[in-house]
Amino acid sequence: MARYLIRRIVQSVVMMFVMSIIFFALIHLIPGGPTAVLFSPHLTKAARDNLTHVYGLDQPVYMQYLIWLGKFVRGDFGNSFVNGLTVSSEIFGRLPATLELLLSALAFALVFAILLGVTAAVRQYSLADYTTTVLAYVGISMPVFAFAIILQEVFGVKLGWLPTFSNQSPITDGFTPFDFFLDGLVHLILPTIALSLLFIAVWSRYLRSSMLDVVKQDYIRTARAKGLSSRLVFFRHALRNALIPLTTQVAIDVGGVFSGAVITETVFAWPGLGRLFYDSLEARDYPVLLAMLMISTASVIFFNLVADVLYSVLDPRIRYS
């Protein structure tokens, strides 16, 4: 297991290295570049040259990459072109909002997916089963941003029940801590639902089918032949086995959640990393963009590894070597 892990980690590092070259090249392909977007047209040539030099943009691209890489391996992501702050501080500043949204969406999705998936499998061909199926298909077939807009239109605009932008009210004068908490909570509702729909759809279907797979297995018949109650058969023998593949699927999806978060955060003007990515893209803020691409790729790779490890922990048959 240790050897397997080390091999996988080495592979991941190599992969990250290759990806960093690709991403760096990609970002420098963007036409216009930061000089055109950022610099005021009224700057003197000298000031312009000076700034270009400060940002290191006068160097050949491969030198820029090597400089970037040298800093990167020491944990320095560089400075933002837009406001000169370190990229790390930019990212850490946005991280809490993103984590808040991600965790709430994932928890919400997990609870609902398990409830729906289990109900659908236990009461196969019942109303609950069909509802889950329909919900799952619609969830898979609906672009996240479109669902987000519908939520805004219906619950925000038409019904006026919930706020549709940002993670807190613009005016918070005289808020008690509890008011802040409540305010945060109501702001969280719609983005959470929007981001979790796809996960609920995919996971509930996944659990349903792995559940139906498991109940056909011989060991379930053995468990019944022992005289176990259907509840015990279900929870101790079936659900446990059915949750193993779901767990790994969840881990893999968590790694890739960032893409969906960018979309949801942009639509809801959520002040998180997704929004930062979108803004940096508009501003051609290379260092920030690069850092974000690297982080989200690393998250996919890392959670894939987590999925494999989880699998071997949960299923005693799997041992990596």
């Binding site: 011989d218 060991y219 018949r221 053995t222 019944r224 032949a225 022992k226 005289g227 015990l232």
Partner: protein, 357 residues
């Protein structure tokens, strides 16, 4: 010995898109306390379905036990017994082991956990007591170092060892009846004999009645008191094991006996097989289901034959008396090779002897 199980007119159907599959069609038999009975037939003959029906383990739907069926177990009607009552019988008084030891144990639970489950439910033992009982069970099925092995997972055991675990689990609550559905089919030949021997010795020790289901006549010969031969969901022939082997009366049994490869066989050429294939249970033929493949068939076979007594405790469901020379001559003309019947008449011990090895 009193009657333990009394099955009357058991019929099971499976609903499918194409129509009902008639898997078991009016099967009747008894099992006495402590008795060992073999059920033999090709795959699709309904032997497994019959056993699962007794345990009420068939998935309903698509399976359905017809209302006319009766299964009395210690004078309790199992066919319409409450599920909660049925659970007390399952694993407690009636236990079952299956064909596939590799997949019959839950891969993510330890052997101990799975072994202790029925002990907790039926014997109401818990904690260390239950564990001790489980360990002693493992030892009695021949697994050394039982205490430590309780913490092992199924994949750490070989097929034979897993079947031993299954047997330990099945016998954990001293059931009155053990149903063994092809318990050795998936195992190596050497292990097969060990497992059969284990079942036999535990039967003697615990006084458990055993219903041994198999497609292998050799398995039945050495280990059972009586045999039921099933074909297409019917019982073709039933009788004491020695009597049935020595004096088979149903053409299908004759075919099966001819189909056993024998080391002492001096015939050159290929193995006798039963021509044709089992009937389509979606559209079973009217009359005797074996008739399309039967060399002895006569016009009367278009009606289903009643089960008639052909010896002490020996019944056969056939219109034809296969011992009659005229019938035999007719069958020979249709290509029937009379092995085991004429040449070895009265020599049933031969079958028994080469089967137990």
């Amino acid at each position: 010995m009193g009657k333990l199980l009394e099955v009357k007119n058991l019929a099971v159907q499976f609903k499918t898109r194409e129509g009902p599959i008639h898997a078991v069609n009016g099967v009747s038999f008894d099992i006495n306390e402590g008795e060992s009975i073999g059920v033999v037939g090709e795959s699709g003959s309904g032997k497994s379905v019959t056993s699962l029906a007794l345990m009420r383990l068939l998935p309903v739907p698509p399976a359905q036990i017809l209302d006319s069926s009766s299964v009395l177990f210690e004078d309790k009607q199992l066919v319409d017994l409450e599920e909660s009552e049925m659970r007390k019988i399952r694993g407690g008084q009636m236990a079952m082991i299956f064909q596939e030891p590799m997949t019959s144990l839950n891969p993510v639970l330890t052997i101990g956990r799975q072994l202790i489950e029925p002990i907790e439910i039926h014997l109401n033992l818990h904690g260390a007591e239950a564990e001790a009982h489980a360990a002693s069970l493992l030892e009695s099925v021949g697994i050394p170092d039982a205490k430590r092995r309780l913490g092992a997972y199924p994949h750490e055991f070989s097929g034979g060892m897993r079947q031993r675990v299954m047997i330990a689990m099945a016998l954990s609550c001293r059931p009155k009846l053990l149903i063994a559905d092809e318990p050795t089919t998936a195992l190596d030949v050497t292990v097969q004999a060990q497992i059969l021997e284990l079942i036999s010795s535990l039967r003697r020790e615990f006084g458990t009645a055993v219903m041994l289901i198999t497609h292998d006549l050799g398995v039945v010969a050495g280990t059972t008191d009586r045999v039921l031969v099933m074909y297409a969901g019917h019982i073709a022939e039933a009788g004491p094991t020695d009597e049935l082997f020595a004096n088979p009366r149903h053409p299908y049994t004759l075919g099966l006996l001819g189909a056993i490869p024998r080391l002492d066989d001096d015939r050159q050429g290929e193995l006798a097989t039963i021509p044709g294939s089992p009937p389509d249970l979606l559209n079973p033929p009217t009359g005797c289901p074996f008739q399309p493949r039967c060399a002895f068939a006569i016009d009367k076979c278009k009606q289903y034959p009643p089960s008639v007594s052909v010896g002490p405790g020996h019944q056969s469901a056939c219109w034809v008396d296969v011992t009659e020379p005229a019938a035999l001559e007719r069958a020979k003309l249709k290509g029937f090779i009379p092995v085991g019947l004429v040449q070895h008449r009265g020599g049933g011990a031969q079958f028994a002897s080469n089967a137990t090895e």
